[in-house]
């Protein structure tokens, strides 16, 4: 009957309880959507960089990354990549020749990282072919085709089929140059792809650097459920002379962001739930104060303090029990809708893209967040109940009974 009284007491002041329940619903919804929104930013940003640029794992000659000297290639790189394509947990492996140089148009010149790519495997690993905005993926131009980013094309004032010249040091330290014709322009929110990379066919670059059939980088795409560290360890076990690194080591700033966004959930939860505590305390305190006489009567006729305390506690928890699932449902529905349709931020796309963010955002919330939020709300209501319940048990029946 204690639960029955508590439940009925919740609905005694229907409007007031609904306001608190509404604030719990809005709080939980805001928490979920805020987390989903931040996750969407983060997942979109990381997916963009990992999927289209750095991949899950990269392999280099240990000396290569010191100053990107072309003479430090991976021994038997192509054979190793081929072997890795058969490994469990590896979705794709592609090889690249990487050379730093200059790209010049008739009007302007710019520094560039030239990437000699394996067309078939590159598209499997980085889906480069999927982000072609203009032109084709190396089709239609037979001799020396090149793909560059949209920003670089704008900087060089070139367009499709324009001619550009790549200048760089070959494998013997001699300056060499090659004329290329633009076959495609890629558009990406990744600054590296958009501004600093130039993609050419591997065989075209092989001829120009004159080092034979060598590669400087193997990029690996892993299955989503696979920990990169497992593949890295397996690689080191088999080929201990190379440097294999996961994206966390290649781009530590991404790893830091990943962790930071993870802890943002708790910060957001702390802020929202603290605000909720004050709202609930206020309501419950009012509920206790206006029932002072009734509580006094209950204690006079024999309801002990533990029961009175529990009754107020249960009443408060009921508010959370009604509000939290509704908030979770509304939050889940919102996330579900936008997960499919995306949040269109194209009005701010220029600014977002300059920071590497996509203009369509897909909110995403892990299942465990729903549990964390539920537990958070329950703890919040219990904390919020403590003061009003204490206030209730502190009253003296003889005084409470004579209050008007």
């Amino acid at each position: 009957m204690l639960f029955k009284i508590a439940w009925k007491n919740v609905w005694r002041s229907r409007g007031r309880s609904l306001v608190v329940i509404g604030s719990i619903i809005v709080g939980v919804w805001a928490l979920l959507f805020g987390t989903g929104f931040m996750n969407g930013f983060m997942v979109g940003y990381m997916a963009n960089i990992i999927d289209h640029d750095i991949s899950n794992i990269q392999i280099h000659n240990p000396e290569f990354k010191k100053d990107y000297d072309v003479k430090y290639w991976i021994k038997d790189g192509k054979k190793k990549a081929e072997a890795m394509r058969e490994w469990e947990g590896v979705r794709g492996a592609t090889t690249r020749i990487i050379v730093s140089g200059m790209i010049s148009s008739p009007k302007k010149a710019s520094g560039v990282q030239i990437r000699g790519i394996d067309l078939e495997n590159e598209s499997k690993v980085t889906s480069l072919d999927s982000i072609i905005n203009e032109g084709t993926y190396f089709e239609g131009i037979k001799r020396n085709p090149i793909i560059i980013g949209s920003k670089l094309a704008e900087n060089l004032s070139v367009k499709l089929r324009s001619k550009v010249v790549l200048t760089f040091n070959d494998g013997h330290g001699n300056i060499t140059a090659g004329a290329f014709r633009i076959v495609g322009i890629v558009k990406s929110s990744s600054i590296a792809i958009s501004e600093t990379y130039a993609f050419v066919r591997q065989e075209d670059l092989t001829k120009l650097i004159d080092l034979g059939d060598v590669v400087h980088e193997i990029a690996i795409l892993t299955e989503p459920q696979i920990e990169e560290a497992t593949i890295v360890a397996q690689y080191h076990k088999m080929f201990n002379n190379d440097l294999a690194e996961s994206w966390r080591e290649i781009a530590p700033e991404l790893a830091v962001m990943d962790e930071m966004y993870g802890s943002m959930l708790y910060v957001l939860m702390g802020i929202i739930l603290t605000a909720l505590i004050f709202g609930i305390v206020n309501t419950m305190l009012m509920a206790v104060l206006e029932r002072f006489r009734e509580l006094g009567m209950l204690m006079a006729v024999g309801m002990n303090k533990v029961r009175v305390y529990l009754m107020i506690l249960v009443e408060t928890v009921f508010l959370g029990i009604v509000g939290a699932p509704l908030g979770l449902l509304v939050g889940w529905l919102t996330i579900y809708y936008y997960r499919i349709n995306g949040v269109d931020l194209s009005n701010y796309s220029e600014g977002l893209e300059s920071f590497g963010y996509a203009s369509i955002l897909y909110p995403y919330v892990d299942t465990n967040v729903y549990f964390i939020v539920t537990i958070g709300v329950i703890i919040t209501t219990v904390i919020a109940a403590l003061y009003p319940a204490w206030k209730a048990v502190k009253l003296k029946p003889v005084e409470a009974l004579h209050k008007l």
Binding site: M1, K4, I5, N9, M297, V301, G302, N304, V398, L401
Partner: protein, 227 residues
């Protein structure tokens, strides 16, 4: 057998500049089955005495024994349990739980006593029947008249099978017809269940029904008449 033995009760309020003696050396014994009215003008100490007899307030001096147990100075939680099992209360403003039905209001006190559901429901229904409001069992207190609500309150006070019932101005908010009906029912319960009633009142109709009338003036017993 005395159910209440109050010895030399003094209650002094010292919050004011001059100490106020609400009760000044009151000694009172109440025997089982009595129908007693404590009367006197406003401010004579009736309610204070009732609160002290019911363990809701402590005397400044003196002692109160209820069923041979000294309740003065008893710890709060122990006193609440003691009240639950030994003392019934009827308040001027009825003080029923508005969210419960009338039946549940009567049952509630037995629930606190941890009696089983069947016994609770049977006794609650029986008491409501004796009070003439069995047909209102499943209604809320707000749907009843003042007199009917006070009858529910009396049924609630009797439900726990207390040693005695303290009623503070139980008829103050009732019209003559409701007062008369309520008093008849209380008298009937006094006779049939041997329930001991102690009223604090200045209502002449209650005084006329009482078999013993204790008159307080300025915190002292002026007269104690048994009829």
């Amino acid at each position: 057998m005395s159910v209440i033995k109050a010895k030399n009760i003094t209650k002094v309020y010292t919050e004011t500049a001059v100490p106020v003696y609400a009760l000044n050396g009151v000694t009172l014994n109440v025997e089982e089955g009595e129908f007693t009215a404590i009367v006197g003008p406003s401010g004579c100490g009736k309610t204070t005495l009732l609160n002290i007899l019911g363990g809701l307030d402590n005397p400044t001096e003196g002692s109160v024994e209820v069923a041979n147990t000294d309740i003065t100075g008893m710890k709060d939680n122990k006193l609440i349990d003691f009240r639950l099992n030994n003392i019934g209360f009827v308040f001027q403003a009825y003080n029923l739980i508005p969210v419960l039905t009338n039946l549940e209001n009567v049952e509630f006190i037995m629930l606190l006593q941890k009696r089983d559901k069947k016994e609770r429901q049977e006794r609650a229904m029986d008491l409501l029947d004796q009070m003439g409001i069995a047909d209102k069992a499943n209604q809320r207190p707000s749907e009843l008249s003042g007199g009917q609500q006070q009858r529910v309150a009396v049924a609630r006070a009797l439900a726990s099978k207390p040693k005695f019932i303290l009623a503070d101005e139980p008829t103050a908010n009732l019209d003559s017809k409701a007062t008369s009906q309520l008093l008849d029912m209380m008298a009937q319960m006094n006779k049939e269940e041997n329930a001991t009633f102690v009223f604090a009142t200045h209502d002449q109709r209650v005084i006329d029904k009482a078999r013993r009338v204790v008159t307080l003036v300025d915190g002292k017993v002026e007269s104690d008449v048994t009829r």
